[in-house]
């Protein structure tokens, strides 16, 4: 299966988000791929509010089935959420469950004026009513595959496809 170039998609995504940014716009990346993207977007868009990051492990709905994620990074939202216009950033939008968890976590920091979603890839397969306002590309990925963003040592982003069985967390 031919995968699109992540760097090229990031350029598209940057321009789509740029269209809507204002003085109170803040980016919040979701660990791990979403944080890499958000870092690049934040740099490209020269936003004045600092970048936020979320690890949604404490808000996931599958804790009862699979327990705690083996590696959790601290969430960090270094700006006032109350009244800000937040763009959540994730690499792959799939079931929508991660986004649900991220929105719940975000609201424990305060009441944002609005929340929008930017994703590099929308691979369909939604199990919750989530829609991304900014999408790099829509891609049809077989349900037994996992699509993941990777970052090279030099910082270059790329997409990879895995067998779900092997990488099932």
């Amino acid at each position: 299966m031919q995968l699109p170039d992540a760097e090229h998609l990031l350029t598209n995504l940057t321009e789509r988000v740029r269209h809507d940014i204002g003085p109170n716009t803040a980016l919040v990346g979701i660990h791990t791929g979403g944080v890499w993207l958000a870092e690049r977007l934040h740099q490209n868009l020269q936003l004045s509010l600092p970048l936020g990051t979320l690890d949604v492990s404490f808000y996931r709905d599958d804790f009862g089935q699979i327990g705690l994620h083996p590696q959790i990074r601290p969430s960090d939202v270094p700006f006032k959420v109350e009244g800000s216009h937040i763009v959540l950033v994730d690499d792959v939008l799939y079931t929508g469950r991660t986004i649900r968890a991220a929105i719940n976590e975000l609201f424990d920091y305060g009441r944002p004026a609005s929340v929008r979603l930017a994703a590099l890839i929308d691979r369909g397969g939604r199990e919750l009513p989530m829609v991304a306002q900014y999408v790099g590309a829509v891609l049809d990925v077989p349900s037994d595959k996992m699509l993941a963003l990777e970052k090279s040592v030099e910082g270059k982003l790329s997409l990879s496809l895995y067998d779900k069985r092997r990488n099932n967390e």
Binding site: D55, F58, Y59, F63, G67, L68, P70, I72, D108, G110
Partner: protein, 322 residues
């Protein structure tokens, strides 16, 4: 009950090697200790927010079973459970069923019939938490909050968490544990945690009467003199001198103890200039520690209490998810 710590297969781990109960730091592999510390790091952020709560343990029931009095430990366990959205029931057993003659296991059987998911147990008998863990259905998790002279693993974990926050690498530290090592479950758990995490030099400093025989077997260096023992130390872990020990023949007087083993500014100056001072609380000011040190710049005693909540949140959520 006394041989609980020497069981051949680790009763704390399930068949997948995940932490099922937290009973002692002895025999816990470094990756499990580090996973707890790393997870606790994320909970520190949660406890600094306006909404100091996550929904992780919503609908779970946690019973704090305290067969021995405690204020700080019980309170921090209670706060930790509440910040994970669990329902918490505090039972001060000394004042209830036990005085009516109910056995320990009858008490926990009755509580598990109330659909408990987790027990936090403090007991004056070494091995009490192990006994309950072996008796319970595997889906019920046990945390040892202090058993006799045996172990107090969450205290040791919050201590090493605090050390890691101020001193980045365990592998080049010199740590001194000072005071009543003999009666201290805290000291035992600290020694196991520190050595597993790779601290190359753990010292114990105490009078001979307050040291267990053959304490060197735990991999520590023994000192009876503060002047030698504190030299070039990075971390000082003070122990509480329990007042009831004063009644025994082990020590002549608190004044005498303070003179030789009480931590004063002068003695602290023998350690490294950036050494930190820990104490598990409650402190006896003027007995094992001078107020000037307890409230001084090198003291991290209050941060220990704050981090204790994050560490207990981490332990509870790892157990509940195993």
């Amino acid at each position: 009950m006394t041989n609980a710590g020497t069981m051949s297969n680790n009763p704390q781990l399930n068949k997948n090697g995940q932490l099922q109960h937290l009973l002692t730091t002895e025999g816990l592999p470094a990756p499990i200790l580090l996973h707890i510390l790393d997870t606790a790091e994320s909970f520190v952020g949660v406890t600094e927010r306006d909404v100091k709560k996550v929904p992780l343990l919503r609908g779970k029931s946690i019973f704090n079973l305290f067969f021995e009095p405690s204020t700080r430990t019980r309170t921090t366990f209670e706060i930790a459970a509440k910040r994970l959205s669990a329902d918490v029931v505090n039972l001060n057993i000394a004042a209830s069923s036990q005085s009516k003659g109910e056995t320990l296991l009858d008490t926990v059987d009755n509580l598990s019939a109330m659909h408990a998911d987790m027990f936090v147990v403090r007991h004056s008998q070494s091995g009490a938490a192990h006994l309950i863990a072996r008796h319970m259905r595997p889906e019920i998790h046990i945390i040892n909050a202090g058993d006799g002279r045996h172990a107090h693993p969450t205290q040791a974990l919050l201590d090493v968490f605090t050390i890691r926050r101020y001193k980045s690498d365990f592998r080049n530290l010199r740590v001194a544990i000072v005071g009543d090592i003999l009666h201290s479950r805290v000291a035992r758990s600290q020694i196991h945690a520190l050595t597993t995490l790779g601290v190359p030099e753990v010292r114990v400093i105490a009078p001979k009467t307050l040291l267990p025989t053959k304490v060197e077997r735990l991999g520590v260096h023994v000192y009876h003199d503060m002047t030698q023992g504190l030299k070039d130390v990075d971390v000082l872990m003070m122990l509480r001198l329990q007042n009831e020990r004063m009644l025994s023949a082990r020590l002549p007087s608190t004044e005498e103890y303070f003179k030789y083993y009480g931590l004063t500014q002068e003695k602290l100056a023998l350690a490294k200039r950036d050494a930190i001072v820990l104490h598990p609380g409650p402190m006896n000011r003027g007995v094992e520690i001078d107020s000037a040190v307890a409230d001084g710049k090198q003291s991290v005693i209050l941060p220990q209490v704050t981090f204790g909540i994050a560490v207990r949140m981490a332990v509870m959520s790892i157990l509940a998810g195993s």
